[in-house]
Symmetry: C2
Subunit: 466 residues, 2 copies
């Protein structure tokens, strides 16, 4: 695909200014620059135009106008994606959903919420909490990512261990197809099986099959008690084995987060200090309605940890301590950047029994290639963020080699190349490691069935789309 | 669509006997008769041939052979469906998955199971339990329904309230498309977002988009304690309001099952006796790992019930009493048949706050049309089984009128025409009440994209397919 002719973009701009209003369209170079990157560090791909939708009709209009001029459209909201899903690889229009950011309603009686796609995930979490309700999916970026982006990527987070991922909370959506047709899919009830599960298909479709303009989400009653412990280990393999044992014990914590030695070093002292000798840590969090039960569960987890070589278990004494711990966990990704000038973050998942093997394999790989590898993440469900830290472009050949080997190790262990960030642009070259040619070809035919012109978010997920 | 020419079926039979083995194909009239009906009471639609698959390759062979001769194929396993999904409306081949009934493996470390589609749901539940694990989806028919059927219909059950439905436990599948192509879709890990979520699309596709020949399921640790209480009310509206209040209280029982006066009358004395004055009942079940916590939760539920007019709360004292209670609940559907010669069972779902309104509406409808209406079901998630009992075909006009009105009431309350049984053949005439023409048309185009010949389970879900 080629970058569209400026004349075609100018025509789209004129039409959209007329139909959406001049303030809803931007071709300001500085702003275009901003929309050219996200949290994937995959490079800069500035769009030629940004259109800010304020309604379903606006989204329909953007698709119809742009596609009539053969101009590609790439949906975007908070630009917090980690796989380059919102990067307009071939220019064209960035369709921003940021201004559709209303929480339309929350029903404590029905335990549902209706929201627009630009709502910040954390804003929904807080609004639900104030009503005694709970929206569990908690991507690390919840303070700034959007529900629309969570839906595009089927975002997970630490609590996925007990509560599942975004898709598990999507009941229904107003969905705009690339043809400009708007469909009300799904349901407003908790259960419902009328027709095909199009929400199932579209959640996680990475902005390539259409865009959600209104979402009905399921909420659950808010667990009234949460307790969090930090378990310290000498090394990461002991910690990983302890996590496996905890899960096999029959307990289901809501989070079991793992930090390896490099990750600990990166965040140590940033508002939180680790005891000496700490070579790995597990954050274990349980929830429910009764203090006694939770204390008992943490005690059991702590005993399992001790039996697997844990040095210490520290219980967060209050909400402030809990928040400190989680703030430290959330800052890992950023803090790792401070250790080395360059960082590539991976997002693999393996069957839970293979976690120790995967971590050991990644460490060995780093040692062999002279690269620092930091592994942390949602060990409870096998979803690990393996990070390669390096000094500069001169190490790029080793980094590429390491990435390819990591993916190979992961797939050989029965894992997936992406647990929660999506394939996007970052991993499309690796999809064929995990999926057979027939499966990839079928998905590409499905993409063409839904987006016949191939102009919605081109170049994502599949290599040959570009 | 017309019933295929016997010569075409004879040709399919000869080819399949050669390729699958003579013992895997049947044209025995008595057996054909058996495969002509299910638990929907929608009538008799005998196939012309039954093919018993023993492998993925067999399924591919059946599709290729039958479709080459323009003969339709209807997948079937336990014939326990309630919406006529496995009825071969236009004859042709019944493709039975019953003989693919192996539990391939269960991994306590990974918390996963790999099963063939003919495995009886209860057999998997028991095998998981023996290893300290838990497969939560519990359709009422778990003692005889199959995992493959559960996947086709995205089956729910009482525990869906806390644990979700079948789709929430499907990680990956070996899937055979109508073209005969076999795809390994999904993943073996708990999390994973590589490519489109085809499991999401195919689970609940009612045997119209292909067939699962191997399924990887997620299991969870088995909660070590379960407690069950029966709460007795004078009338069903009080009971329904109590259920709403229980959910709004912040508790999340694993089941909240409702029985109205007619349902109670039907099962009273069948191994279980209700106290005098009982006009409705709620079965509340909580689970967890600590007796004290569960007792406390049941106590809270009981207090809420009392505040809403409950006569009594009876706590099951041991597993035998629990099982007696659930056996009574499971027998409702059958017992209602004993009250009147004919019964039509509906499966609607409404937003939880609308449960009292829905029940009141159905009762009034029955009174107006001179029909007995019994409502019971999974009140906790708004999924109600409304049953119309009648004396004979002479009442059919009123019954049809009542059904149509029930669906209208449901949709007007923001509900769905099917909570867990599927549209199948039974409800295809009502789909347009719930879904816009554009949405139905899109789904039909999707069906044609995946099944270009339209020969896989024709006549299901969509009216004009027939």
């Amino acid at each position: 695909m080629k970058r569209p002719d400026p004349a075609a973009v100018a025509a789209v701009r004129a039409e959209l200014e007329a139909k959406l209003g001049a303030g809803q369209v931007s071709a300001d170079p500085d702003q275009l620059e901003v929309y050219g990157h996200d949290e994937s560090d995959m490079g800069d791909f500035a769009p030629q135009l940004i259109a800010f939708a304020r309604s379903t009709a606006d989204v329909q209009q953007v698709f119809r106008t742009a596609f009539a001029h053969q101009v590609p459209v790439t949906p975007v909201a908070a630009r917090s994606g980690k796989s380059g899903g919102s990067l307009p690889l071939y220019g064209g229009v960035s369709l921003s959903l940021e201004r559709m950011n209303r929480i339309v309603s929350i029903s404590p009686e029905d335990l549902t919420a209706v929201v627009e796609p630009g709502v910040i995930t954390g804003a929904l979490m807080k609004a639900a909490e104030e009503l005694g309700l709970f929206y569990p999916p908690d991507p690390n970026s919840w303070e700034f990512c959007s529900i629309g982006g969570n839906i595009a990527e089927n975002a997970g987070g630490p609590r996925a261990l007990k509560y599942g991922v975004t898709r598990d909370y999507v009941l229904g959506m107003q969905w705009v197809l690339p043809t400009g047709e708007a469909l009300r899919i799904g349901k407003r009830t908790i259960k419902g099986v009328a027709g095909y599960d199009l929400c199932g298909l579209f959640v996680g479709s990475e902005g390539t099959l259409g865009v959600a303009t209104e979402i009905t989400l399921q909420l659950i009653p808010r667990p009234r008690k949460v307790m969090t412990a930090l378990v310290i280990f000498k090394d990461v393999l002991e910690a990983a084995r302890a996590v496996s044992a905890m899960l096999a014990s029959g307990l289901l914590p809501r989070c079991l987060e793992l930090l390896d030695d490099v990750s600990i070093r990166a965040i140590d002292g940033r508002g939180f200090s680790f005891p000496p000798g700490a070579g790995a840590a597990v954050i274990a969090e349980v929830d429910g309605n009764h203090d006694d039960a939770l204390l008992l569960e943490l005690e059991q987890l702590s005993q399992i940890a001790a039996a697997h070589g844990a040095i210490d278990t520290l219980l967060a004494q209050d909400d402030a301590q809990r928040e400190k711990l989680w703030a430290a966990r959330r800052v890992v990704s950023t803090a790792l950047r401070a250790l080395k000038p360059f960082k590539i973050s991976e997002d693999i998942a393996v069957p839970r029994s293979k976690i120790p093997e995967a971590i050991a394999g990644f460490k060995a790989l780093g040692a062999r290639l002279g690269l620092t590898v930091a592994t942390y993440g949602h060990a409870g469900d096998g979803n690990l963020h393996a990070n390669i830290l390096f000094d500069g472009p001169h190490q790029r050949p080793q980094v590429d080699e390491a990435l390819a080997q990591m993916m190979r190790i992961t797939v050989e262990l029965g894992g997936t190349i992406t647990g929660e960030h999506g394939v996007g642009y970052a991993k499309r070259a690796f999809l064929s490691l995990e999926q057979e040619p027939g499966l990839i070809a079928f998905q590409q035919r499905l993409k063409t069935f839904i987006d016949p012109l191939g102009l919605l978010n081109p170049g994502k997920i599949f290599e040959s789309d570009g």
